[in-house]
Amino acid sequence: MNLKQSFIIALTISLTGILAWEAYWRAQGKIPDLDDDKNLWAIQRAKVETASKNDVILTGSSRVLFDIDLNEWEQETGIKPIQLANAGASPIPVFHDIVNNTDFKGTVVVGVTPGLFFSTTSPEANPWKRSQSRIDYYIDRTYAQRLNHWLSLPLQKNLVMVSTSEEGWTDDIDLKSLLNTIELGNRTGKPAFPPFYAFAYIDEDRNNPMSERTATDTAFAGTVQKAWKFFIESNKNAPDKEATTSFFLADAEKFMKRGGQLTLLRCPSSGWLKKGEDQFLPRAEFWDYLIDKTPAKAYHFEDYSQLKDLTCPEWSHLSAPDARFFTSELVKIMKADGIISNNKTN
């Protein structure tokens, strides 16, 4: 039995297949991208362990992830913030982790997306679990997991075919996701989840600008809007303002007592989503209620003439250029308030 020949044939077929697959997806307009997964988050979380008084941590939901441009912030202040915001998640568990599991005394910016911040403190509820699972992963991650991720980064950066996501976007191209897009009637009788495509590109530091297509192609932005509508309309859980606020305030007090600087931030939203927030989570009853109970500095985009008219292409996040503008304006305001100082050496 001569297996050398079989090996060469198998290798040739495999390499041809792989190259064809890569070429096909590139021809479809896909570009190599990183996955905003628990590994990427854990690398940033690890930075908190050695962070100094001058450092800045960003937590929040996807709005902080999209709307704060880390490079812009660094350019303005000389310090690149540690991005720990999680899409679709409550920032409260992350803040709780920073306060209770580290001795960080620098600045923490907590993004307040009312529908997520005030949602719940139940460990089993999605907004909480999505954050907590990343914290747990950071605590439990093994050397093998760290090495696997480190080895995967060059592949993710250079090959389209390895593109996949923890989130499970409709346009993911791993085998499981491709098969999941096959629909043969509606057997379960439940409303089908609308297609939800990835609409940002994240980098290794978790800087996460919105894709240009989302900002310029209104039909595409419309698909994201449909997904928000589906999420919000199918959510039957009432907000839990008291529990979330008191949980957060306990940590806030502890953090400020040890010399940490806490800042709350309400990022822009627009259109149908903003109207819904105004109606069901009105500012006076939620945001104002929260900031009245803490001495932390708080910034609401509506209070600033240069920020209040910013428009989100898909109702919830700023386009990449607007995110840069928003960041630089926010930094200016925070500097003027003495919240952050300029560490730039040049």
Binding site: M1, L147, N148, L151, L175
Partner: protein, 444 residues
Amino acid sequence: MLFNSLSFVVFLIIILALYYSGVFSWTNRKRILLFASYIFYGIWNPPLVILLWISTVVDWIAGNKLSTEENKRKRKLWLFLSLAVNLGFLAFFKYRDFLLDNFTTAVNSYGYGYQAQPMDIILPMGISFYTFQTMSYTIDMYLKRTERAKTFLDFALYVTFFPQLVAGPIVRAQDLITQFYEEKKASLNQFFWGLFLLTIGLFLKIVLADTLLSETADNIFGSKAILHSVDAWAGTLAFSGQIFFDFAGYSTCAIGIALMLGIVLPDNFRYPYAAIGFSDFWKRWHITLSSWLRDYLYIPLGGNKHGIVRMYSALMITMLLGGLWHGAAWTFVVWGALHGFYLIIERILRNKIHLKINPYNGILLALLTYILVNFTWVFFRAREFDTAKNIIRSMLFMNTDGEKILATFDILKVFSLILILFSCHWVMRNTSMKSVSLKHLHGY
């Protein structure tokens, strides 16, 4: 480290490069393999390598003593020491919380308000495998069935050899240690066949188990709903496929990797879903475990040499403990009990009905065996008895208004994959990949 990970690809390339570099003597190559095995294990959780070392040293000493000691009492003590350490590790790391839970329940049923402190102990990867492997050495030494390992290096490598360290096959001392005595080098054909087995194994595990079947099984067994019969069957069949592809895939990887180093490991799965009856099933499913349980549990308990009652009791105890070996929960015990029950019924029927197996009744009996095996998988996979009960009721068409939670495509995917799986097992039941490939190559 898992075989299906990037770090393992790099690890294996480095090991193969060092192993075949021609720079090192055989002893040094074995030292490299041993050191690499500790890295392989420790990169997951470094302190737990200490358990491996303790197991290795204790069994090495016990084995040495048993090779020279003739005093029966002292021989028993050395055997006891090895069993106590290995089973003690298992009891502490795998069964502590389970034992404590049951103890608490039992004590509290007498009205004491006892509160146990759960310790949240981490389960050392592969502990069930390597403790069984080292115990087989000491027991064989005690029974004078094997020679003592020539050097500590050979013995340590036997306990820790990375291809089969965390998920088997569970190899007997005389089958593996002796292979380390002489210099090993895979022939080119062996190397390519090993690479082929590794690739097939990864395909079974990553594509078939993890990508195509696990999600359906997870959805069904994670659902709180009372399910439609089709959904319950799809979930159970998906799990039956998932566990086979996952486990057999991983064993195939282990056999392939060892072969690339010139080491031959025994088969662990032989097309089990084409088994006709349950004793046949256990000769095909996780073979190295079932033969371990047969040799070190069933036969010492009396086997079939002491009458029917003793035989059935031995069979049942073996299967119950075999169930518990798979996981520290009562659901696994029920899984084992069902298999024990099946084996007993089969033996009773075998004595009463004498059937000549032909391809026609054979496939029907294989199908019947597979269906009955599926009922046991429900207990193996379900985390709660309530879930198992609901799924079994749905599978028996007793929940007429069950909820449909799977999409049509999922159901088609599972049923077609399982049909292919069952057909392949039936076609391959009396052969192997190797002989099929040889036949084809000679045909050209």
